[in-house]
Symmetry: C2
Subunit: 194 residues, 2 copies
């Protein structure tokens, strides 16, 4: 076996941890958002990771190098934008669990934020990938609210059957990769019927 | 005179450069946004500065220290959110110039983005502080478009008189500090009249 020389290591990835679990799905969504922008369908972006910058060096003029910074706690969700004149706001989750999804995975700041979005007339939801079904569901926030209320006194999770009942399944495809706005359309149609 | 011991320097501010010039105004707007959220009036946030993270150290478990990162070019504006069911999107500018505002200060990616916001039914504008008048104006993006078109063949700036004519002045006050949503209301009222 030929031993190739190791290349100089210039990039070190952060270790995989709980919060990185959604990366595959996030990539699908980023590509979908790029497709939406390119095709003039919507303008939805992932927000940059909030970082507290402590030290910046200027090794050259016009070149700023951040040498000390820390991850900050976000106060909002990861994605927002505009679609058909509507304010769209959501976060992305994944679960490998076979029978249920623990609601503690939707963090307090995300709940507060999505509740506010809903109150101000925006469209608020979670995109949840259920690995065992290999399906991403759009879960409207006000339906999650019902289960958050139940969680105060009882069961702290949604069963997979409840997710299938309350959510809008999204098919993966080639282009766009994950057409979640088609699920938004179905959801809005149902809302208007009520 | 008593000489107090100097405290340990743990935080070093980046040098003041061109892009920091709007900081005073940005602080006013951040405080205003906090007021809006607290009073349930709107949900508008400044987006985090986009940073390309190259290296992260973990001196302790549960403690991530970014040791190498670079500023990335943003592809959107700095502020967005939801107000009365409307998608709101804007950037913040300042000028010390006495007679005009050079349109090259509104960058191409900001123009592209605000144009998209408008096309998708959002509310797109610039908050421009004219230092010599000590006044912040809300400049609706489609009015700026008129002058961008003129700039293709002629004058590359808006005169202060044009800014006063096209813009909605915003009074600074104690609470909220800079009630720009009142200018959004005036603008929307004018739009409905047309």
């Amino acid at each position: 076996m030929i031993k190739y020389p190791t290349t100089k290591k210039t990039y070190r990835k952060p270790r995989i941890n709980q919060s990185n679990r959604g990366m595959g799905l996030e990539k699908l969504i980023d590509e979908t958002n790029a497709y939406y922008i390119e095709h003039g369908k919507a303008l939805i972006h992932k927000k940059p990771t909030p970082v507290q910058i402590v030290n910046v060096d200027y090794p050259r003029r016009e070149m700023a190098k951040i040498t000390e910074a820390y991850f900050r706690k976000p106060s909002t969700t990861d994605y927002n934008g505009v679609y058909k004149g509507l304010y769209i706001d959501f976060d992305v989750k994944e679960t490998k669990h076979k029978t249920s999804y623990a609601l503690k995975n939707i963090h307090d700041h995300q709940i507060r934020h999505l509740r506010g979005v809903k109150a101000h007339g925006g469209v608020a939801f979670i995109l949840l990938k259920v690995e065992t079904l290999n399906t991403v569901f759009l879960l409207p926030f006000e339906r999650i609210e019902t289960y958050l209320k139940r969680a105060e006194k009882g069961r702290k999770s949604m069963t997979i059957a409840e997710i299938e009942k309350e959510g809008y399944p999204i098919q993966e495809s080639v282009s766009p990769r994950l057409d979640y706005l088609s699920a938004v359309d179905r959801y809005l149609k149902d809302m208007n019927k009520r």
